[in-house]
């Protein structure tokens, strides 16, 4: 049986991940956004490390290390460089206003809890809570992607979804190491591809604001 204090600490990490997702939604400046994303990745790696400790599953330590190095250090650094190189506009306007976005976020968390807890009634406590929180993080990441005009913030939303998936996978008693390595590499490759595209878009249209790029879709002259 897992010690209640250990459960509480795991629960604390998972809840902090949800909180940091909300902080991502609240940000309106690019540098702040990237730094909070680094914090998001840090919390995920701490959570995975704690899971490794209480589940006695040493291969999860490697997962935590990968999350820490790649997502908390390398990717934010690369994003900072891209932002500076492309001279991307530094403030991010949300589509409907911060208050409504946060309210929608709360609704999504409630929805995730309402869906997950009854479904997983047979599972252990640790798995149930982690799954509920993980679904919340995924939904909040999706909300972030649809409520921002800016391409970089959509990339960050996409990567926070991946963090939520890691939380879900580790909470459900471990994930094979090879899967984690391949997922991490695919994320890195995706980031490189996206970075190249951002460069090209920026060269061609002088902006990466999705709203303005919308007019150039299709066969319009």
């Amino acid at each position: 049986m897992i010690d209640p204090l250990a459960l509480d600490v795991a629960h604390l990490f998972a809840g902090s991940l949800v909180l940091v997702s909300f902080m991502l939604l609240y940000q309106d400046r690019m540098t702040g956004l990237i730094n909070i994303f680094a914090l998001h990745a840090l919390v995920v790696s701490l959570s995975v490390a704690w899971q490794a400790y209480i589940q006695h599953a040493p291969h999860l330590y490697i997962t935590a290390a990968i999350a820490l190095v790649i997502k908390a250090v390398v990717i934010p650094f690369a994003l900072h460089r891209i932002v500076v190189r492309l001279g991307i506009h530094r403030t991010i306007e949300p589509v409907v206003g911060v208050g409504l976005t946060m309210l929608a976020g709360i609704g999504l968390v409630a929805l995730a809890i309402m869906v997950m807890l009854p479904i997983t009634a047979q599972a252990g406590t640790l798995a149930r809570e982690d799954l509920a929180f993980a679904l919340s993080v995924i939904l909040l990441g999706l909300l972030m992607m649809i409520s921002r005009h800016n391409a970089v913030s959509q990339v960050i939303g996409f990567m926070s979804i991946e963090n939520g998936l890691i939380l879900a996978a580790t909470g459900a008693k471990g994930m094979p190491l090879v899967v984690e390595i391949s997922v991490a590499f695919s994320i890195l490759v995706a980031l490189i591809v996206i970075g190249i595209f951002l460069f090209r878009i920026r060269e061609r249209f002088e902006t990466v604001d999705i709203h303005l790029l919308h007019e150039h879709r299709g066969e319009q002259p």
Binding site: P4, G15, I106
Partner: protein, 318 residues
């Protein structure tokens, strides 16, 4: 006989609250000054300020009414009664069951109501600014505070502060995300309600940055002394509530005897000092926000409170 003793302890608590309040504010001011590299005013300066104000003559505007003259006493009475109901060095005092957290929040609301009306009484634009901004801040801070009360009450099974303190000292609590969120939300509300940076600047002379100061701009003499004392007591109240709910160790239970009360009092002084120091650090580290960013700030506190309540249903699900 026991009833008389209990009443004496309660009366003691009421006087302690009143006497310590200016000291806390003096301490916060001194800490802020020292963090900025100055020596700062003496710790007992607020007492001297109050005495000085008492000796001065009151200057009333021609358009001030009886409400203007009565309001300071009502504001002070409501705040003092609310502070007297918060357990400081002992829980379960004889009159602590007269009001729970919700009633305390509402008492502070009464004080604010009278103060806002007093701001509008003289008919200047400054008073109007103060009153309208104060009511906007209150319209978000009060629900946030009530949601924090909900979270804690849903956890502890009661809205009585004495029962909550007893529950928090017990083993059933554990480390909960909801409590952490509730603590952050409560601290944000406390900063807003006590007119501290980043919401309002208590030491300002500029209309642009005034909320509380604008409402009391026309007050002078003994009326101003009473209102200042009320705001000192309000700060003490919020620090006491945070200490009682989230740091309940060392608090005596009513009837445990004189030694337990002394330990409780010593623990309370330590908590006040820590709280005051942290407030000074926070105020020095951060800049004041624009008035319309305050609504985002308090909206975030409201969301944190709501999230804390929701996450309660996830934790310890068996």
């Amino acid at each position: 006989m026991a009833v008389i003793l209990d009443m004496l302890v309660q009366f003691c608590q009421m006087t302690v609250v009143l006497l310590l309040a200016p000291l806390l504010t003096g301490y916060v001011r001194k800490m802020k000054a020292q963090l900025l590299g100055r020596r700062g005013p003496p710790l007992l300066q607020p007492y001297r300020d109050l005495l000085r104000l008492l000796r001065k003559e009151v200057v009333l505007a021609h358009s001030a009414s009886w409400l203007f003259r009565v309001a300071p006493y009502l504001v002070f009475a409501a705040t003092w009664v609310a502070a007297a109901l918060v357990p400081t060095f002992a829980t379960g005092l004889i009159f602590s069951y007269a009001a729970d957290m919700i009633a305390i929040v509402a008492l502070l609301g009464s004080a604010r109501f009278m103060l806002a009306l007093a701001g509008l009484d003289v008919g200047t634009s400054f008073g109007g600014i103060g009153s309208s901004r104060e009511m906007m801040i209150a319209s978000l801070a009060e629900p946030a505070m009530l949601l924090v009360v909900f979270t804690v009450a849903l956890l502890a099974g009661s809205t009585q502060l004495s029962s909550i303190a007893a529950f928090m000292q017990g083993p059933g609590v554990g480390l909960r995300v909801s409590l952490a969120l509730a603590l952050v939300a409560l601290v944000m509300v406390a900063i807003a309600e006590n007119a501290r940076i980043p919401v309002d600047n208590p030491a300002t002379h500029l209309e642009l940055t005034m909320v509380h100061e604008a409402m009391i701009l026309e007050y002078s003499g003994r009326h101003l002394a009473v209102i200042e004392l009320a705001s000192f007591v309000k700060l003490l109240l919020y620090v006491s509530v945070i200490a009682c709910v989230f740091l309940p160790w060392g608090v005596a239970v009513s009837g445990q005897g004189f030694a337990a009360y002394l330990t409780g009092f010593a623990a309370y002084l330590v908590k006040l000092a820590a709280g005051g120091f942290l407030l000074a650090v926070f105020e020095t580290a951060i800049a004041k926000m624009r008035v319309f960013r305050v609504s985002d700030f308090l909206g975030a506190a409201l969301m944190l409170g709501l999230l804390a309540t929701l996450l309660l249903f996830v934790s310890r699900v068996t």
